[in-house]
Symmetry: C2
Subunit: 412 residues, 2 copies
Amino acid sequence: MPLLVMKFGGTSVANIDRIRRAAKRVGVEVAKGYDVIVIVSAMAGRTNELVGWVDEISPLYDAREYDAVVSSGEAVTAGLMALTLQEMDIPARSWQGWQVPLKTNSSHSAARIEEIPTDNINAKFGEGMQVAVVAGFQGVSPEGRITTLGRGGSDTTAVAFAAAFGAERCDIYTDVDGVYTTDPRITDKARKLDKIAFEEMLELASLGAKVLQTRSVELAMRYNVRLRVLSSFEEQSDDAGTLVCAEEEIMESNVVNGIAYSRDEAKMTLISVADRPGIAAAIFGPLSNAGVNVDMIIQNISEEGRTDMTFSCPVDQVARAEKALKGAKEKGEINFHDLVADTNVAKVSAVGIGMRSQSGVAAKMFQTLRDEGINIKVISTSEIKISVLIDRKYMELAVQSLHDAFELDKSA
Amino acid sequence: MPLLVMKFGGTSVANIDRIRRAAKRVGVEVAKGYDVIVIVSAMAGRTNELVGWVDEISPLYDAREYDAVVSSGEAVTAGLMALTLQEMDIPARSWQGWQVPLKTNSSHSAARIEEIPTDNINAKFGEGMQVAVVAGFQGVSPEGRITTLGRGGSDTTAVAFAAAFGAERCDIYTDVDGVYTTDPRITDKARKLDKIAFEEMLELASLGAKVLQTRSVELAMRYNVRLRVLSSFEEQSDDAGTLVCAEEEIMESNVVNGIAYSRDEAKMTLISVADRPGIAAAIFGPLSNAGVNVDMIIQNISEEGRTDMTFSCPVDQVARAEKALKGAKEKGEINFHDLVADTNVAKVSAVGIGMRSQSGVAAKMFQTLRDEGINIKVISTSEIKISVLIDRKYMELAVQSLHDAFELDKSA
């Protein structure tokens, strides 16, 4: 029997009516002859309520108890979904993480999946069960304690099940109807993509398009799990949503497939750093230890043995970064004249696997921004992505003009 | 290390403040040198919310999924309690039923406890843990599915842990401060008992004093677990609340220790039944099959081969009883002229182990009621209890006058 994994996020199971609607979607696939593994999140708002209680009791909580508490939301939804399917005469039962068992390491609150044995669930499929409903986000450690995979972990659960069971596809039902060329709130020319390559999705996910968790896309790419992102709030046809898949499945594609942005960036510059071998390590070591996620880095041309070092990081980590760098200066590990933080910047990126074979993308991007009078503060590039840091006030304009320049409103 | 079991009901853990207050009580016992096993219920209202969702989806639900859903409330409280204790620098961790594991049979929603292995928890006590927080009400079946013990099951969990671990005592924290000679809402002369025997508590529990679940008292009696009932809302001394214990621990006791009542009774009379051997079986067989809980039974003196048969049952089972009896009549299994239901009755009972050795209790009871002009409709007695069925409008008066007559406001 071909097998499908279907994942429903918190808004898709927020109340009994929505659980019924989701169950109907499952029923459609069962009617086509699929065995289905359904992965459910907690009802919207539940996890936040549980996390709120934990924070109220103990700001520096024991992550093992945190996991025991916050994992309960998914357990509830799994049972309710199984009951709803049974009411539709579809043989179904629920599984909690430890019952599968979804085995993880012991990194509570951010556990990595180690193994998903398929025998328990496959035995039930063999006995006539048509749907296994699995609580997302949770697993069990070698010590037998409940672990969670971190926020958004249900996407990762879904992809891991699809890989373990060799599913034909992993459908991620959410509150948007697919992956767009850019944020439709910024330009109404934004177009839903029918297909997107794993690599592109990864860049878009980590650049701020919050459709899928980065980790789930990485996992899908590694195991070649075809992911479909689609809305649980619309009637769906077979080719609805966006398919995230291997490059080979995409015959023809635009050079640039998406314009991503991130508002919450800051640019920090260390002015007049003594330039010597090992200086980068001396700067970025303390930042890493302080938990600062450094993104882009540029080093200006050195003059008379001194240089300026610029990097970007999330805006809410600026204070932490300043503390780490000033601490390193006091200890004599680094030496700089001044530290300047610019918290009024945004990052805009063009992403597309077509860049690999086509030149001139960067030039076109820079020219477009220049024509709009937008100054570029930092540039960074990868094989399939070009990112720039600009003044935040120009962000919308930059996204709109780049979307136009690369003709993303038209499909390839 | 001496060990104590402490159980906190739903109102005692209804929010974070109350969990903190309960944790403080645990801290007091830890400071005395006890290892403690804490059994927690779900936060007040949670279980009802979960049950409501299940009912909304599926009135004839799969009890296995029901259990998976409703057990989640206790899991949350266990984690939150463990975190609260940790914040007080008391080494604690939470256990869910399957982690202990608390092994039950497969009677979902009404599972019986089969075994509680002590090695996992004792190993942690050996490593320095001082409090094990266990989610009440839940266990795991031989098939590895979550079971629940039925409503009020957390009391039963607590007593079972106390028995398995050989606890010095099992403290049940609730919203009343002990067991009273009668309901204080009916007479302000009601007096809190310092001690009560298991047998008396059993009669009181099943007669309508809703302090402890009958099943937990049965279990406590079987394993001789000393139970203390006390309030989680008051500062407590060492001899607070009421100790439920073996008769031998109670030196001197009143002949009657409590007056119980039940408002929700009905009296049914089958008029002019053909009196023949086996007639009782023919009547009460169908009632039992229909799930009617028959309580008191009396058979009038037979005249000319016919008799009247009277019994009492909960008032909400009258319709069911009528249907069963009329069905049996139609099938020719029994024969009676008429069936009369009196739904305006109440049961009042005097309970006391002293009755065994002291005569005249029944006579005193009947005389007291006669002096108040209260007509007795049905009488039933056991070794330590006398119950009468009377008109419901006299119930308060009967309780008050019996409380006075047996001088229950004075201790022995």
